[in-house]
C-alpha cells in the first residue's frame, strides 16, 4: 500500500468511526438514559390508577345528568378544551351500548321511580311552594297493552332499516318501553325541558322509552292505533340514532373541517318522524296526523334530493357531510348550511321551497307535495293559503283581512 493509499484508508476508517459515534449519540438522545429499576412499572401503575379514578368519576357524573342540563357544543367540546376534530371523531363512533341498560320493563319502571324523584327535587327547586303527590304510586291503566304493542313495533327494526352495525347494537340492548301515568309524564317532561303535550320520550343514554299510557289512549288526542304505533316507532328511531351517533348532527365543511350546529334538534326530530311515518305506513298502519309537520316536510324534501339511503345513514350516524354535498350540488353551494342555519323547521321550509323554485324545480316540488305524508302534515296547504292571502292583500291593500 502506498503512502497516499494508506492515508486515505485511515481517513475513511476515522470517518466511519465518527459516523458510528454520531449515530450512537442520536440513539442515546432518542432512547434516553437507562431506566431506574421499577420506574416504568410505577409510571404505568399510577397512570392506570388515575385513569380508573377518572372513569369512576365520570360514571358518577353521569348519574347526575338527568337532574342538570348540559349544553350541546357548537364547536369543539362543551368546555372548549377539546378540539372540534376530537369531538367529531368521538361522535362518529356512536354508542356500542347505552350508558344505562334495562333488561326488563320492571327494571325500567324502577328507573322511572328514580326519574320521578329527581324531577320532583328539581321541580321543587324551581317552585318551592308546589305540593306534589306521588305519581308513580298510581296503577297505570293499559300499560300492559302498550308494552305488548311496543314488542310488535320493536320487531320492525332490523338490519334492512338500521344497517348492520346499528341493528346489532339494537338487538344487543333492545329498547324497553314502560307505560307511565299522565302526572308522572308531565312532571318529567317539564323538568327535562320538553314543552307542549309530550306523550313519549326516550331517555338519553339509556334504552328506556317512557310513554304516557293514559294520554296515548285518549280517543280525542290519538284516535287510531296507527298513531300509537307511529309514536313508538318515533321513539325507537331516536334510540337507534343514539346508538349510531345520530344525536350529534355534524358535517365536514368545504376544507374538511368539522362543523357542528347548536340548533339542529328540529332537523333530528323531522328526520325521526319521517322515518317513523314511512315505517308505520309501510306496515299497513296509516296515521291520520304527522308530528313536527314542517320539520318532517323539510326532511322529506331532503330525502327526495339526496336519496332515502343517504338520508337514513346520515340520520342514524349524525354525519350529514354527504347530504350537504348532494344538496349543494343540486341547489347551489351554501344551500345546505342555509337550511341548517334556518333555526327552525318552519324557516327551513320557506327557505327550501324558495330555493327549489329559484333552481327551476317546481315540477319536482309539485310531485313531492302529493306524497301522503306531506299532505297529512298539511304545511304546504297552510303555506298556499298564506300566500294567497298575501297576494290578495297586495292586490287590494284596503281590504280587511281576518275576523271582524
Amino acid at each position: 500500500m502506498t503512502g497516499p493509499e494508506l492515508k486515505r484508508s485511515v481517513g475513511d476508517a476515522v470517518g466511519a468511526a465518527q459516523d458510528v459515534a454520531r449515530q450512537a449519540q442520536v440513539v442515546r438522545e432518542r432512547v434516553g438514559p437507562p431506566p431506574v429499576a421499577g420506574e416504568g412499572r410505577r409510571v404505568r401503575t399510577s397512570v392506570a390508577a388515575a385513569a380508573d379514578s377518572l372513569r369512576s368519576l365520570a360514571a358518577y357524573g353521569r348519574t347526575m345528568n338527568p337532574n342538570f342540563s348540559v349544553s350541546i357544543p357548537t364547536t369543539g367540546s362543551p368546555t372548549g378544551q377539546l378540539s372540534a376534530e376530537a369531538h367529531y371523531r368521538s361522535s362518529a363512533r356512536g354508542h356500542e351500548r347505552p350508558e344505562r341498560t334495562f333488561a326488563t320493563a320492571e327494571a325500567a319502571r324502577a328507573h322511572s321511580r328514580e326519574e320521578d324523584a329527581a324531577s320532583r327535587a328539581l321541580f321543587m327547586l324551581r317552585y318551592p311552594e308546589a305540593r306534589l303527590t306521588d305519581s308513580t304510586a298510581t296503577r297505570v291503566p293499559r300499560a300492559g297493552e302498550l308494552e305488548r304493542m311496543a314488542d310488535d313495533v320493536r320487531g320492525w327494526f332490523g338490519p334492512g332499516v338500521l344497517g348492520r352495525s346499528v341493528a346489532e347494537r339494537f338487538v344487543r340492548t333492545p329498547p324497553v318501553v314502560t307505560g307511565e301515568t299522565q302526572q308522572y309524564f308531565r312532571l318529567v317532561a317539564a323538568t327535562n325541558g320538553l314543552i307542549g303535550q309530550t306523550v313519549a320520550l326516550q331517555y338519553p343514554g339509556t334504552n328506556h322509552i317512557a310513554v304516557d299510557a293514559e294520554g296515548i289512549f285518549e280517543a280525542d288526542r290519538y284516535p287510531s292505533e296507527a298513531e300509537r304505533r307511529c309514536i313508538l316507532a318515533h321513539e325507537m328511531f331516536h334510540y337507534s340514532a343514539m346508538l349510531g351517533g345520530g344525536y350529534s348532527l355534524r358535517w365536514r365543511g368545504p376544507n374538511g373541517e368539522p362543523v357542528f350546529r347548536e340548533v339542529l334538534s328540529w332537523l333530528h326530530e323531522g328526520m325521526t318522524e319521517l322515518h317513523a311515518q314511512q315505517m308505520t305506513r309501510g306496515r299497513g298502519h296509516v296515521p291520520p296526523t304527522v308530528s313536527y309537520a314542517a320539520e318532517t316536510t323539510v326532511s322529506f324534501y331532503l330525502q327526495q334530493l339526496v336519496g332515502a339511503d343517504v338520508l337514513r345513514n346520515a340520520y342514524l350516524t349524525g354525519d350529514l357531510s354527504e347530504v350537504r354535498r348532494l344538496v349543494d350540488r343540486r341547489l347551489g353551494a351554501g344551500t345546505f348550511e342555509a337550511i341548517a342555519d334556518a333555526g327552525s323547521g318552519a324557516s327551513a321550509f320557506f327557505y327550501l321551497r324558495g330555493r327549489l323554485g329559484e333552481r327551476g324545480m317546481p315540477a319536482s316540488l309539485a310531485s313531492w307535495d302529493r306524497d301522503a305524508i306531506v299532505r297529512t302534515a298539511g304545511v304546504v296547504e297552510e303555506h298556499r293559503e298564506a300566500e294567497e292571502e298575501r297576494r290578495g292583500a297586495e292586490r287590494d291593500p284596503n281590504a280587511i283581512h281576518g275576523s271582524r
Binding site: L57, M64, N67
Partner: protein, 94 residues
C-alpha cells in the same frame, strides 16, 4: 326546601370529595411521569389527558370551595361538573 338545600350541598360536598380523590391520583401519576428518566411515547396521550383532567377538575374544586353558598350556585356548579365529566369521557374515547 331546607331539606332540599341540605341535600344539594351534601351532593356537592360528596362530589368535591370524589374530585379531590381523583386529583390526588392524577398528581401522583403526573409526578411519577415528571420524575421518570425514560418517558414511554405510548403513554404521552394519556398524560395529556391527565393534565387536561387535572386542569378542569382542580378549577372546579376551587370554584366549589370558594364559590357562593346559595342553592342556585350549588346547582350551577353541579351542572358544570357533569359538563366536565362529559368532556373527559369524550376525550378519553380518543
Amino acid at each position: 326546601m331546607e331539606d332540599l338545600m341540605e341535600k344539594t350541598f351534601e351532593l356537592e360536598s360528596e362530589t368535591r370529595m370524589k374530585v379531590s380523590e381523583s386529583i390526588s391520583k392524577i398528581e401522583v401519576a403526573l409526578s411519577e411521569w415528571d420524575a421518570a428518566k425514560r418517558k414511554p411515547k405510548k403513554l404521552e396521550k394519556r398524560i395529556e389527558y391527565l393534565q387536561l383532567s387535572h386542569k378542569l377538575l382542580s378549577g372546579w374544586a376551587k370554584e366549589s370551595l370558594k364559590g357562593k353558598k346559595d342553592l342556585q350556585s350549588a346547582v350551577d356548579r353541579l351542572a358544570r361538573f357533569t359538563e366536565i365529566c362529559d368532556t373527559l369521557e369524550s376525550q378519553r374515547a380518543n
